[in-house]
Symmetry: C2
Subunit: 361 residues, 2 copies
């Protein structure tokens, strides 16, 4: 039991010493891999543990990115840590993911990314040449996305208490005047769009994990989406919501938006762009591509009258060439995503509990 | 050998595949604990590995904090990861360190800290109650420093590939108009000031490491220094340089400033405020208090005509009550710190190679 007298700064109503796991966290008194999967259990950890513990210091819901106003300027601010295993996989490295992941969180607020911080946690015994390779791909990714690396940190942990290289990036972006993107703007009638092939990143990482090999090589789609978003906004189209479907895949992103906006989403499964190689690998592993992570795709909710214009701009960009309308936002079944299957039936696309493939970013 | 054709994004002049460790990194082909100690080897890792690998994307020298201009507003931006072991120690937790560490990096640019991000890397099997305790102390520290936690991230790694809880924070602060603080402003004649007792944090953490116990309990000095800095600036005193002497202690901070400003520093050892408990523990462990980490102290270079005024304001603040002038900035021996000893001799206070006590933050 924590002594409240000795710790006068405890916020009222939260005593970590006598803290009792609320349902459904109670099922496990310890951290399990699914808590890091970006699905339901990640959400519960934030809602039932971090938010009450942070108390009054926590602002809003600690989303992927925040928009703050400083001196009349609106800034987007975001952070992500990267623990992908292995560090190098077909199509990318942890360094590219670390840049593109934070860039994309900023871009999903409609912001123009400006600067990144980089913080490395290195395990004793890691080869300097390997760190150099990661740092080089990180620098090249930042240059490609036109952001500067302006501040950093390096920590070292004893061998056996880390895993080679963990990287955290945080980023600041500028939200242009007039841009207002977020789940609060989702409306029944919105056209739901994906910018290209789904499920690629998760399968690329999985394909090179020990003991798993497929016939074809699937390369990660890691990419910075700020240019694609800028092109969409430049058309003047009314973009209501943007989300990059990383951990938990398209299914997790659409469920989050549906819940936050209290709207329903109706998907057409036949419209989903799924490469054959991803379909085959998913069949082999018993995975659903809707739940597999992407690192260079976005989901957009577009005002119906503007959808064609935005889609055209997306398809004119190299990262949106295979953009596709995949569904609509509906008034029915608020908070729920349903898919019309290839056979003409419908099924509920649930929020996943965790991530089917852990440590993919 | 990395195939350049397959990796066209490599910046010219840096090929990680054939990367050869430059001296003095060459002594070790792998990461050692001292690379994370904030001393000479940390500096070499940045200068010889990260900066060339990052290439054109790296801006300036990747210092503890950067000042960037956005829409006519000057922002300070900083990040730090925390890997302290154990997670709870006399006087604090990793949560308080994570808040105060980033707050202090911002404050050392003269900035008013506004918002923080928090990113957790959790090891599978860590108790949720322990995470709640850390999160609670983090939230309380943020509330005490009057900053908001606005965005975050959680990753989980398999048991045996992490160490309970690692926390990264990044922060944004607003640099008030007219404030210009940094090593470029150090001038011979400046009075060098410390805000209070040195060596406390490092000894506090060390005192509860397995197998090490001292007679008295030394409690960490972890604290947010933004209020103290605001009070110093409010006097109108011309504050030239501020630095929080964390890893590597006062010795590392003064050496960094001396090198960056190309000035000398002359310390008076007898003026250093060192608590008896720290002196005793250092004697026992064979440590020099000048090299032991602090987490709630600052070193200031003050224009000589303003030093008394600034010192008075510091002493009126609870975190500066034992503030003390400890030396002067000199033209002689640029880049070097020398100390006048209690016996009247002088000695060179070198930049440490690493940190005497690893994983203290």
């Amino acid at each position: 039991m924590l002594d409240q007298a000795a710790n006068p700064s405890s916020p009222p109503g939260f005593d970590a010493g006598s803290w009792v796991c609320p349902l459904p966290l109670r099922d496990s008194p310890t951290i399990v891999m699914a808590h890091g999967g970006g699905g339901a259990m990640s959400g519960e950890l934030i809602e039932h543990l971090f938010l009450p513990a942070f108390g009054a210091a926590a602002d809003a819901a600690l989303g992927d990115a925040a928009v703050i106003e400083v001196g009349g300027v609106r800034l987007a601010f975001s952070t992500d840590s990267f623990v992908v295993k292995p560090l190098t996989f077909p199509g990318g490295t942890i360094g590219e993911l670390a840049v593109n992941g934070t860039i994309n969180d900023l871009a999903m607020m409609g912001a123009r990314p400006l600067v990144l911080s980089t913080a490395f946690i290195l395990e004793e015994g890691t080869e300097l040449a390997e760190i150099a390779r990661v740092a080089q791909s990180l620098g090249a990714a930042a240059a490609a996305a036109e952001v500067k690396l302006v501040t950093g940190d390096t920590k070292v942990v004893d061998a056996g208490h880390g895993d080679g290289i963990f990287v955290n990036t945080a980023g600041i972006g500028l939200v242009p005047e007039g841009v207002d993107i977020g789940p609060h703007r989702a409306r029944p009638g919105d056209v739901v769009v994906i910018s290209g092939d789904i499920g690629v990143h998760g399968i690329a990482v999985m394909s090179c994990r020990e003991g798993l090999e497929f016939g074809t090589t699937v390369r990660s789609d890691t990419a910075p989406l700020n240019g694609l978003v800028a092109d969409m906004l430049a058309t003047g189209a009314d973009v209501h919501v943007l989300r990059d479907p990383t951990r938990g895949g398209v299914a997790a992103s659409l469920n989050e938006i549906a819940a936050q906006a209290n709207v329903g989403v109706r998907l057409d499964e036949r419209a989903l762009p799924i490469p054959d190689s991803v379909r085959d690998a998913c069949g082999l592993l018993g995975l659903d591509p809707l739940y597999v992570a992407n690192e260079g795709k976005l989901v957009a909710f577009l005002a119906p009258q503007d959808a064609d214009r935005a889609l055209e701009a997306m398809r004119a960009h190299p990262l949106g060439a295979r953009a596709q309308a995949i569904g609509v936002c509906v008034e029915d079944h608020p908070g729920m995503v349903v898919a019309r299957t290839a056979l003409g039936g419908t099924r509920v696309v649930d929020l996943p509990a965790g991530e089917q493939l852990p440590r993919i970013c």
